[in-house]
Amino acid sequence: MTTRTIFSGFGGQGVLSMGFTLANAAMLEGKYVTYLPSYGVEVRGGTANCTVVVSDEEIASPVASEPEFVVAMNQPSFNRFQNILQSGGLLCVNASLVDIASARSDIEILAIPTSQLAEKLGTIKVANMIILGALIKASNIISFDAMIKNLAELLGEGRSKLIKLNKEALEMGFNYVKE
């Protein structure tokens, strides 16, 4: 099986780290994986996006023309990427910033009030991990355990405070999504 996910939002929202976290976890799970960031003329506050392809077989192209999943952290990303999502695909939306009134009718929308949830953890910085947790629950791209184990490697073994915070954020998103 091959799944393609586009993560998108403002620069600074942790869009690229969301993708990188997923890519690294998928690698640890023994999957084929590619991670392609948008690069070059991007600025803080501008739009950023990256594409992660996870597969059981060799990956032909790291570019996704019709992804199965899209994560949109802001309105411009929502408007742009909902159009390329596969019919029946899943769109994870940062409901705190995005108005989903204009959503396509043939896709599934998962609206996560990331800002409100993040407040409970005391920092908006983990909004990306909350939505990533929700995506994992809804998509089954990789196991949630692999995601959690991966944190220590990404953040550095010694940084237990950070690991704990990110773990809580992932769990919060994961648990927010009901079956």
Partner: protein, 352 residues
């Protein structure tokens, strides 16, 4: 790891002792990686004032016996051509990386394959050639980079690693276990100070036309040896194929995805992927032409490698072409449709 970073680590493990570079997207991560890593190892890293300076620093380091590398992207590569010509004339080893972006001119920063002719035809002035390696994945970069350093030393000639923006930017799992400790090559030409031995001279200025002609023929013989011994390529599902797609680098990878789809519909399409763009795998292509009539060239350019395919086939078979220049990355589905259509039309022609 990103392709650029993997390339840097592969160079470090291959015994690259000097790196000189000038920033340009989409290969900046390589320069960044080398800045950090070469410093840690106590090797030489210099961010030069220009691409021209960087390639000439490579020349200087190489003539002193170092394993030297520089990297750039398309517009920067144009600037380096003078230096590459001098390296070839002086018979000095060097590795030059080109992460190709859309052109001509300033172009853009998206991946492209439009520097093929520049790389495979020498690129600068004079009768010379460079070996051109065209890897197709981040893992293959770790095979190609040590090979590039070895071939450069073995033939005393610059070697080009021709990637593209996507290969540099994308991240994939990568292992460096295949890289062996660097081999030693005789360095009886390098300038180390003439104490206790006759003085040596490395130069490309040969006023005597006879002498220059002789030097040129000597280089030609070297290039012939490369053509004989260094052709590298890979085939994919070519055994029973009725159409062979010729593609390289990231393009070949997208083609592979398309072929898997085509095969599901019983379309007998295979692929020949050059790993050396120069010397071009002409003989293997001729061999395939004994059983295959239709060849499909795909490039992320307006059509450059197609010239080599034409030369290799020398009038045999029929050549189809599809190109996406300007930094556009087609999808496997797009190629599946195009190749499928050509396959269908070729089959119909055969029936008639």
């Amino acid at each position: 790891m990103s392709g650029n970073a993997a390339l840097g680590e592969a160079a470090v493990l291959s015994g690259c002792t000097c790196y000189f570079g000038y920033p340009i997207t989409p290969q900046n991560e390589l320069t960044e990686y080398m800045a950090k890593r070469m410093g840690e190892l106590g090797r030489v890293f210099i961010q030069s004032e220009s691409e021209i300076a960087a390639i000439n620093m490579v020349l200087g380091a190489s003539v002193a016996g170092a394993r030297a590398m520089t990297s750039s992207s398309s517009p920067g590569m144009s600037l380096k051509q003078e230096g590459i010509s001098y390296l070839a004339a002086d018979e000095l080893p060097a590795v030059v990386v080109d992460m190709v972006r859309g052109g001509p001119g300033m172009g853009n920063i998206s991946p492209a394959q439009s520097d093929y002719l520049q790389a495979t035809r020498g690129g600068g002035h004079g009768d010379y050639k460079t070996i051109v390696l065209v890897p197709g994945s981040v893992q293959e970069l770790t095979e190609v980079v040590p090979l590039a350093f070895d071939l450069a030393d073995q033939y005393r000639n610059p070697v080009i690693v021709l990637g593209d923006g996507m290969l540099g930017q994308m991240m994939e799992p990568v292992s460096f276990e295949n890289i062996k400790p660097p081999k030693e090559y005789p360095k009886d030409y390098i300038l180390t100070g003439a104490k206790g031995r006759p003085a040596r001279m490395v130069r490309s200025l040969l006023f005597d036309t006879k002498e220059e002609e002789e030097h040129n023929w000597k280089l030609v013989r070297k290039y012939q040896r490369m053509e004989q011994n260094e052709v590298r390529y890979e085939t994919f599902m070519a055994d029973d194929a009725e159409m062979i797609v010729v593609a390289y680098g990231i393009g070949a990878r997208i083609v592979k995805g398309a072929i898997k789809r085509l095969r599901q519909e019983n379309m007998k399409v295979g692929m020949m992927r050059p790993i050396t763009a120069w010397p071009f795998p002409a003989a293997p292509l001729q061999e395939l032409a004994k059983t295959v009539h239709d060849f499909f060239v795909f490039e992320m350019s307006a059509g450059q490698m197609i010239e080599d395919v034409r030369l290799a086939l020398a009038g045999k078979g029929r050549i189809h072409f599809y190109g996406r220049p300007g930094g556009v990355i087609p999808t496997p589905v797009e190629l599946y449709r195009i190749i499928g259509r050509h396959y269908y039309m070729a089959a119909r022609r055969k029936q008639q």
